[in-house]
Symmetry: C2
Subunit: 372 residues, 2 copies
């Protein structure tokens, strides 16, 4: 308790030690800061191609019934997922995006001083959750533009990690390992540890990037989302698939009424429209090709991507890439870049529609000139 | 680590000690269990009168843009709330319903063994969160059908509570204290403690039930929601108002992308339609009167309500009230009842439309006969 002003809150030791600096700045905040709206929104790996019209129609029909709470167990959605993947209903938990599910998972496993292993430069929100529960993040460097599953597992074994994070495909580099490599990593998970395999972008990846689901294996929990390929970032619906015991434990702590009703309904309708998904994936692949071509035409090096974004190696230092990002944002093109070295030499462009990429293509040469 | 099967998760001590029995059963689960749908949905204190048509239209317009994430700070909504209440933007945090905000608040303050004071029979989700962070719930009995602010503060002082919960109006009894009584309770909050004042139902209460906002006071945080009077339970948007330091601390731990985009937009549109709110409040008041009249006509004792439900004292034991609830649910009328003695003698009916209350009125006499 503060002796000077004893009135009011006494925070937990963990909270008292946390940084005030939240790493979350949304494009709307940037727009207010710079005084104008973005013309192209290509920075948050949102799916500009949008959700299935069937999902939109289902949500619009549900909007008049939002006086009802959503269901606690996302029953209809889980039934559809279980049937599609041929897994058990009870091997699935639906949550407030992968962000929400990662927070719950960390809370289940990680207490003060517990070790957690991830790649240096991987998903910052995961690190935020680990810090938020007092855990210690131990990192392993990328192997070039790839996460390094073998090094992750070796480090986890060395430090006795309770949790290991790996994304496949990867963000922020967009690279992918094949399913056999991932399965080999699962086999290397040390005793007493769990691998969380973040597959947010897996629908964009080549066939075979995802191992077959084995819900009998307590060593891995896999997370997927409706925010990316299904074009529903705004509804905040993700899901995790894993062993019964771990999945069931989420029910001990999660916000059982945390999901919007129309979001659950929209996610189900989107999932049932696999033809639209296939069309989106094709559009994204074409957009990736175009972003890569624009990069090459400007003397930059695109990194082959299995996601809905292309990370471009700008070939110089972090200051150069930062100047490009700042210049493009200032002129209405919202993009981002990786945030730790050596990846800070890159910029990251989400797959956009033709009109979005037209703007990017037109603005990039000037940005490069201004940054030089 | 389990020696027999060392593979897989090592849970934290807190999680390992938590009950498997989640207290959350939604009406959809009940419907599946009994094999038929409810004809009247009067058990979860949802607002059957529904949201403002302007909110529905705003959400429908936003559904096609759900490929975008919602904002991290609910900027437009917070601006509207700040202007309406004449408080600072930074004195407000928006979250995934009051349920979500209560979870965050508990996490900020409560660690293993910390004491938290609430009324015996008050909001079970709050107790769920306290248990979920290892805190000890210490309870004070209701004073008849009312929560007892003075006893709550005395107990908090006695046990050194870090957090105190009080709802006004109260759930599950529906009673209310006037603002002066609540303000007097705030003045009694012991040093090093915070009162969370749950005002989920305050829009239904008589004028004067809410003290004036004083965001300079670090002893109280107040929570409100769009789930009740605004008819938007399904969007999961609530907010908390309090002292800058406490409100800012939520940013250290919350899911910054936890809210749906259309939910934020719908909540703002609903908030801006205060005329519709007034109409809803009048409809709810009329429905309360009718529920009370139905109770009296059946020889039961309605408890005066400041909420969108009426709790009815059935005048006998818990088994009798339980039999009434079971009978009504079995015949399509979804209602609930308080869950601890001595309130278990009561049943709780949400304010419904005329057609909902017609069904309740028609079914109640038989339910009473069957329960006797």
């Amino acid at each position: 308790m503060d002796r000077v002003n004893p009135k009011g809150p006494r925070y937990t030791d963990i909270v008292a030690g946390l940084s005030d600096a939240a790493p979350f700045v949304d494009p709307e905040t940037q727009e207010r800061g710079q005084g104008h709206l973005f013309s192209a929104r290509l920075g948050a790996n949102e799916n500009v191609f949008g959700p299935s019209p069937k999902a939109v129609a289902a949500m619009q029909a549900a909007d008049g019934e939002t006086w009802m709470y959503g269901t606690t167990d996302s029953y209809d959605l889980k039934c559809a997922l279980a049937a599609h993947y041929d897994i058990g209903f009870d091997n699935i938990v639906v949550g407030e995006g992968i962000d929400g599910l990662l927070g719950y998972l960390v809370r289940l496993l990680v207490g003060p001083g517990d070790k957690v292993v991830t790649s240096y430069g991987a998903y910052p929100t995961f690190n935020y959750h680990v810090a938020g529960y007092g855990g210690d993040v131990v990192t392993v460097p990328f192997d070039g533009n790839y996460e390094n599953p073998v090094a992750l597992m070796a480090k986890a074994t060395e430090v006795g990690a309770k949790l290991i994070y790996l994304s496949n495909p990867d963000n922020p580099m967009g690279t992918v390992h094949d399913g056999a490599t991932i399965q080999a990593a699962i086999e290397m998970v040390p005793n007493g540890s769990v691998l969380v395999l973040d597959e947010a972008y897996v629908e964009f990846a080549p066939k075979g990037a995802a191992p077959v689901f084995d819900t009998n294996d307590p060593r891995v929990i896999r997370m997927r989302t409706f925010s990316k390929a299904y074009g529903l970032a705004g509804v905040r619906v993700g899901y995790a698939i894993g062993h019964l015991g771990l999945i069931k434990s989420f029910d001990k702590i999660r916000n059982h009424f945390g999901l919007s009703r129309s979001g659950q309904i929209g996610a189900l309708a989107a999932f049932q429209d696999q033809a639209y998904l296939a069309q989106t994936v094709a559009q994204v692949a074409a957009a990736r090709d175009r972003i890569a071509a624009i990069a090459v035409a400007n003397g930059l090096q695109p990194i082959a991507s299995a996601t809905n974004f292309v990370t471009i190696d700008c070939g110089r230092d972090a200051a150069f890439a930062e100047a490009i990002v700042d210049d493009l944002c200032a002129r209405g093109i919202f993009i981002r870049r990786p945030f730790v070295d050596p990846q800070t030499r890159c910029i990251r462009i989400s797959a956009g529609r033709a009109q979005d990429l037209d703007l990017f293509e037109a603005a990039l040469p000037t940005a490069l000139k201004n940054a030089s």
